[in-house]
């Protein structure tokens, strides 16, 4: 686990913000592929594909495996869990705030109704 999960999430999302990288990522959704297979049918050059693969790897969205002399790429779940963790922290913070506010509201209304009773 990285020490900066929030940044990791940004990196993963930014990496998928590019249409070519998203296309590569989707291609890898069907299974592990070599660079040649990934570049096949794409309108960008192979060096460009390699550059995109590098960005996806740095975002931990894909990983590389060496089989013989060939490198294969496949989807790495770590980048995806970063996005989930990000939302998980969002709800933790939101519900923490909510609890405080609900309890303060309850206290205030209880104090008010006591006051009303006393006036009667």
């Amino acid at each position: 686990m990285s020490a900066q999960p929030a940044r990791k999430h940004d990196i993963a999302l930014n990496a998928l913000g590019d249409p070519t990288r998203r296309a590569i990522f989707e291609k890898l959704g069907r299974g592990a592929l070599s660079v040649a297979h990934i570049a096949d049918g794409m309108s960008v050059t192979r060096p460009a594909v390699s550059q995109h693969l590098k960005v996806l790897r740095e975002a931990k969205l894909i990983s590389m495996h060496q089989i013989g002399t060939r490198s294969y790429y496949r989807i790495d779940p770590e980048g995806l869990t970063a996005i989930r963790d990000y939302l998980d922290r969002f709800w933790d913070e939101a519900l923490g705030n909510f609890k405080q506010l609900a309890e303060a509201t309850e206290k205030a209304s209880a104090a008010n109704s006591k006051k009303l009773k006393r006036k009667k």
Binding site: L13, R22, E26, I75, R84, N97, Q100, L101, A102
Partner: protein, 151 residues
């Protein structure tokens, strides 16, 4: 741990009615200020109190930004919202993930609030990347399982 759902639970020292009202009427007070949809800070977050009611924010520059809408409105016990904001906090009308909130009375004036945010696979990649893939989410789950098994 499931990758596609977030489940949270919080015990609140307040009645079911107070809990429901604070959740739905005072959303802008508990919504983390660091996360807003739209370009400028949010002034208020509004949830129209009815089925299919809009869920949106009003911003400093006068603009409004959609978050989603009400799928189920059952005061004071249950609420289901459609969350249509992607992982970048951008509204996407084609995206629907569900946020279900239950308000369960626990006695002595306490309420257990259970929240479930489902279908998270739709948020990942900012859009429908994974939902559109041939292998779909099951394939990712298998990969994930392989990784955790190996670890």
């Amino acid at each position: 741990m499931s990758l596609t759902i977030i489940e949270k639970e919080v015990l609140v020292k307040a009645s079911q009615e107070t809990a429901f009202k604070v959740f739905t009427e005072k959303m802008d007070s508990w919504w983390p200020k660091t996360h807003h949809v739209g370009k400028t800070p949010m002034l208020e977050s509004i949830l129209e109190p009815k089925k299919n009611g809009r869920w949106y924010g009003r911003h400093e520059d006068g603009s409004e930004s959609n978050v989603g809408y009400v799928l189920e409105w059952e005061p004071y016990g249950r609420l289901v919202l459609a969350w249509q904001v992607d992982g970048n906090f951008h509204y996407d009308p084609d995206l629907i993930t569900e946020v279900e909130v239950q308000f369960i009375p626990e006695g002595r004036g306490s309420t257990r609030v259970k929240l479930g945010h489902k279908d998270l696979q739709k948020l990942m990649g900012g859009s429908k990347v994974i939902a559109d893939m041939d292998g779909g989410w099951g394939m990712i789950m298998n990969l994930y399982k392989n990784v955790t098994d190996a670890a």
